[in-house]
């Protein structure tokens, strides 16, 4: 028995020969990457598995290698075609040769990769996630959130060192309009296996400040074209749909939208595009504000203008009606004036007629009266004349008789008859009582005077 025993090398050699004989030189194999690493010399070492579709249990497993020379060629081709780097969980179609090395054992030497398979496989997987989210009725939930009017308090999920993050912050802080944004970084791993968990953790931290932030931004530096699969994660997408704040993405890939992009409120290509979107959003808000402000100014102006017009119109109306009134009053005045003149004329005329009539009557009456008076006066005059004549004659007769008698009484007549009158001091003397002897006396005679001195008195 012992003589039959093979050395390990003999056995491995037999296995190697058997494998060589029993397998195609090369063949196409479908598998899923469960492990992948690239060493310093550029060789890529993978582990490929096949899982049971129902149970997800691994039902086959193999090591595989892509030698550096091949890897340098297939890697960029794969990545540009799929938009995806070679990562865990990725299904791939590879051309392999089965190698068995006596020391290192079984390994698949990958000679080529068919990226279109992965594209299809990814698409199917993505579609499954989308279908599931749709069935659960959550796919639209974040999109249905309303972006706050003033979206400027931003929770940023990114890797702190990513160039995209720096660009994003720079763009926001240096916006031309000078809007103020408040950003808080919740750093997370943005590629590889940890991405899903890391972003969900960041979302959970942001959830504590839900009331404070206006929106969440998930950004990843540009350039890293590949590795989309971590954003086609059901759980991450589900978290975003359930998140109370709008989520904006700028994950930095040009081709397909990831599931995260699909469920996000707003999907943008790059971090700077997200920054631009936020700035434009405030631009719009400010434009609206300016428009309302302008319209208020215009409306207020129009309002004042129309009030002013009303005032002017009212003043005009008042002026017109005043003018009307004045005109009416004036014409009334003219009318009154004319009336007055006419009436006055009439009155004056009738009064004049009346006066004339009266004048005539008065004239006639005066004439008659004067005539009457004249007649009376004349009759009186006649009477007076007769009376006067009678009186005159009578008085003349009486005078003649008196003159006769007076002539008889004249002293001359007495003196003629021999009587004389004696005067003392021009007084006629009737006795001697006032005389003394020696007085001078005058004696008037009919013809001439005697001046004598008294020698003796006898009574």
């Amino acid at each position: 028995m012992q003589a039959d025993a093979l050395s390990l090398l003999e056995l491995n050699t037999r296995i190697k020969d058997a494998i060589k004989a029993g397998t195609e030189k090369t063949c196409w194999v479908i598998g899923e990457i469960s492990e992948i690493k690239v060493n310093y010399s550029g060789h890529c070492y993978l582990e490929l598995v096949q899982k049971d579709q129902e149970s997800d249990q691994i039902i086959a497993r193999n090591r595989a290698t892509i030698w550096a020379a091949t890897f340098r060629l297939v890697k960029p081709y794969f990545e540009t075609t799929t938009g995806q780097s070679l990562v865990n969980g990725l299904g791939i179609l590879v051309k392999v040769s089965v190698e068995f090395h006596e020391v290192y054992g079984l390994s698949l030497n990958i000679l080529d990769i068919e990226p279109t398979y992965t594209v299809g496989e990814l698409a199917v997987r993505k579609q499954k996630i989308i279908d599931r989210l749709t069935q659960e009725g959550v796919i639209e939930m974040n999109r249905e959130l309303e972006l706050p009017f003033l979206c400027r308090k931003i929770a940023v999920i990114s890797s702190e060192t990513a160039a995209g993050y720096g660009d994003f912050i720079h763009q926001l802080q240096h916006n031309v309009a000078g809007y103020k944004f408040y950003c808080m970084l919740f750093s997370a791993v943005m590629q590889g296996d940890e991405t899903e968990k890391s972003i969900i953790k960041a979302l959970d931290r942001i959830y504590d400040y839900e009331k404070f932030f206006d929106a969440v931004v998930i950004i990843r530096g540009g350039g890293s074209q590949a590795d989309l699969s971590c954003f086609n994660s059901y759980w991450l997408a589900y978290h975003i749909t359930q998140f109370p704040l709008p989520v904006l993405t700028g994950i930095g890939h040009e081709q397909d939208d990831s599931v995260v992009d699909i469920v996000a409120h707003t999907r943008l290509k790059t971090p700077t595009a997200v920054a631009e979107f936020l700035i434009n959003n405030l631009n719009r808000v400010e434009e609206l504000l300016d428009e309302v402000a302008n319209r208020i100014a215009v409306e207020a102006g129009l309002f004042l203008e129309s009030r002013n017009d009303e005032l002017i119109l009212t003043i005009k109306n008042i002026q017109l009606s005043l003018k009307d009134n004045l005109n009416t009053i004036q014409s009334e005045l003219v009318h009154c004036n004319n009336n007055l003149i006419n009436r006055t004329r009439k009155i004056v005329h009738s009064k004049r007629l009346d006066l004339h009539r009266r004048e005539v009557i008065v004239g006639m009456m005066a004439h008659k009266q004067i005539a009457d008076r004249i007649m009376v006066i004349e009759s009186y005059a006649h009477l007076i004349h007769r009376e006067l004549t009678y009186c005159f004659n009578k008085t003349k007769h009486e005078l003649i008789s008196v003159v006769g008698r007076i002539r008889l009484l004249n002293p001359q007549h007495v003196l003629k008859r021999g009587y004389s009158i004696t005067f003392s001091n021009n007084k006629s003397l009737k006795d001697v009582d006032s005389l003394i002897e020696g007085d001078t006396i005058e004696t008037l005679l009919y013809k001439g005077k005697i001046r004598s001195t008294i020698k003796k008195l006898t009574s």
Partner: protein, 68 residues
């Protein structure tokens, strides 16, 4: 001026309502100046929200930074 709690949205909708009143000519001359004054305050408030730095927010952010 306006109360501290006033949000941008509230201020903006108040502005819109002033505009509506103006457009519908619901105001008389005496109300006009009060409303225009209010509008200019609201515009100033909105502008400051857009461009100004709010220390209160900065403070919260700083606290947040210290916690994490």
């Amino acid at each position: 001026m306006t109360s501290k709690k006033l949000s941008y949205g509230e201020a903006f909708s108040e502005l819109q309502s002033i505009l509506t009143k103006l457009e519908n000519q619901e105001l008389d001359v005496d109300q006009l100046s009060a409303h225009v004054k209010k509008a200019s305050e609201l515009i100033k408030f909105c502008k400051s929200k857009l461009h100004g730095t709010e220390e209160e927010i900065e403070k919260i952010l700083k606290e947040m930074d210290n916690e994490s």
